[in-house]
């Protein structure tokens, strides 16, 4: 509207002036966005460092770590088992129909196990935990922000980052690898269900291929990824919730929390995939 007004007033006089003005505006916009992005990166790095350092500040928060491990880990178990089972079953089916055309269906055990342990296990597991627990973290901390509960912590001289973020990151570092391990085992079992029980591949051949093809380095790589994903997901989700009041342009209150929650899930998923590529690049 402002542009229209400016255009309306100046159309008879100086069109090059308008062009210059609009050019300046775009530069201002780009500059503003760059500054804002730099600030956000700085803030998230400080948030992460502060949270990690606070893990080692006494008294240790064992009770809270247990609570969050229960929430992030134990309560995600059903979703992870279900996702792992069907991922393995689909891989078994797809793998069988692809391999059978080359007459190498016996390699199904290797294909399923390596795909799951190296890639799909850590990635899908992290995405499912983000959807279930990460969104809840962002929403809970976001509500605490808008209802002044975080301010209340500060008035009690309680460090909110230590109180809210540190136990969650420890809990995530415990839960992510364990859930990934469960996902891997259930996924391989899913491949066995479709490959061996439905399609008739010899059971011993399937299991033998799983055992012979999976190396320690594959398992270690998968666990390394899950540790990194735990840090990425917890940091993004807690950060988004904690700074709900800063990251919302058109919404505060309930809308602000919903935007923070959505952003946390979307950004976590994107970063999981980017980080997965980077780690895989260095591991292979």
């Amino acid at each position: 509207m402002l542009d229209n007004l400016i255009l309306g007033n100046l159309c008879f006089t100086d069109k090059s002036y308008i062009k210059r003005l609009m050019g300046t505006k775009y530069i201002e916009k780009i500059g503003g966005s760059t500054l804002s992005a730099t600030e956000s990166i700085g803030r998230i790095v400080l948030f992460f460092i502060s949270g990690v350092v606070s893990i080692f500040v006494r008294p240790f928060q064992f009770d809270k770590v247990l609570d969050h491990t229960w929430f992030i880990g134990a309560k995600s178990l059903f979703v992870i088992v279900l996702t792992g089972l069907f991922t393995g079953m689909v891989l078994g089916l797809q793998g069988y129909y692809t391999l059978v055309t080359f007459g190498s269906e016996a390699a199904l055990g290797s294909a399923v196990s390596l795909t799951i342990i190296r890639e799909l296990g850590p990635v899908l597991c992290a995405i499912m935990i983000t959807a279930r627990a990460g969104s809840a973290m962002a929403a809970e901390i976001g509500v605490m922000r808008i209802s002044e509960q975080i301010d209340a912590l500060k008035t009690m001289q309680i460090d909110p980052i230590r109180f809210l973020f540190s136990p969650r990151i420890v809990a995530a570092l415990i839960s992510f690898p364990l859930l990934t391990a469960i996902f891997d085992v259930v996924g391989i079992f899913g491949g066995y269900l479709t490959g061996s029980l439905m399609m008739g591949i010899n059971k011993s051949v399937y299991m033998d291929k799983v055992i012979s093809s999976v190396q320690t380095v594959d398992i270690a790589g998968g666990f390394f990824k899950s540790f990194v994903f735990a840090i990425v997901v917890t940091t993004i989700c807690c950060y988004r919730g904690y700074y709900t009041h800063l990251t919302t342009e058109k919404g505060y209150g309930a809308k602000g929390v919903s935007m923070a929650t959505t952003n946390s899930v979307v950004q976590s998923c994107i970063f999981i995939l980017i980080v997965d590529y980077i780690i895989t690049y260095f591991l292979v």
């Binding site: 809970e140 605490m144 002044e148 509960q149 301010d151 209340a152 008035t155 009690m156």
Partner: protein, 262 residues
């Protein structure tokens, strides 16, 4: 007169283009109850948040027993703030914790009390505030009045030396309001803390506070006792107490009780 416990000197604060505090000068003396009154949106809560450290001033100084707070070492500033307590306007209770955990949190987190001592202290405060057997309930399960009392119990559980109350009676019925006021008065006498109360309860708050300050357009425009404020020769103060806009002739001016009988 003794030197003030807390002193705000020319404190200014803006949020974007909006200047909320335009130079606040205010003294808070040890052991007194100070009421800060003023229209909504004049920066009373912002003022309290400066004292507790939730907001930092753009310019001016906050002095603690004559020493600038921002020049204090981190440890000294932490020790000072540990002696402060804040009761939020909307209570700010932790909705995922029950009443008992809410009240006990400041003790459990910042002190090295044993579980037994924390339990005893929380129970005592709950009894003193008439909270009864609601320890296991969550804030969402309580009435507005109960939530206020839980917030008050949490603010007092650490035996603070200074308590900042941000509209402690908002949303309460007149009976509960009176009770909260008398509780603050009673506990202040009992424990000797310094209290700063932001309030709109005119004239009830005058009976509770020994010292009253009025904030208007970001500045303290009046300071004094109950008698001083009732005799104040300041149109803004008088209009506020009467509940009028400045410039309007008030209802009490127009309607004199004697008129009725003439």
């Amino acid at each position: 007169m003794t030197s003030p416990l807390i002193q705000l000197v020319d404190v200014k604060k803006s949020f974007g283009a909006h200047q909320v505090l335009t130079g606040v000068n205010l003294s808070i003396h040890k052991g007194e109850i100070l009421a800060v009154i003023g229209k909504s949106g004049t920066g009373k809560s912002v003022l309290l948040k400066h004292i507790i450290g939730l907001i930092h001033q753009d310019s001016g100084e906050i002095l603690i027993q004559g020493k600038p707070l921002h020049k204090m070492s981190e440890k000294k500033s932490f020790l000072f703030r540990e002696e402060l307590s804040y009761m939020f306007q909307e209570n700010a209770l932790f909705d995922s914790m029950n009443v008992f955990e809410n009240i006990g949190l400041p003790l459990a987190e910042r002190s090295q009390y044993t579980k037994f001592i924390i339990e005893e202290k929380v129970k005592t405060r709950m009894e003193q505030l008439g909270l009864g057997p609601i320890g296991e309930k969550f804030p969402a399960q309580l009435s507005g009045g109960m939530r206020k009392r839980v917030a008050l119990a949490r603010a007092l559980v650490t035996d603070p030396k200074v308590v900042l109350f941000d509209e402690p009676t908002t949303g309460l019925d007149p009976v509960r309001k009176k009770k909260v006021h008398s509780m603050i008065e009673e506990y202040q006498k009992q424990f000797g803390f310094t209290a700063v109360i932001v309030s709109h309860d005119i004239p009830e708050i005058f009976d509770v506070a020994q010292h009253i300050a009025m904030l208007d357009e970001g500045k303290i425009i009046f300071e004094g006792s109950k008698d001083d404020i009732l005799d104040a020769h300041n149109d803004t103060v008088n209009a506020f107490i009467r509940g009028d806009e400045i410039g309007n002739s008030s209802y009490t001016d127009k309607y004199q009780p004697e008129d009725k009988y003439e």
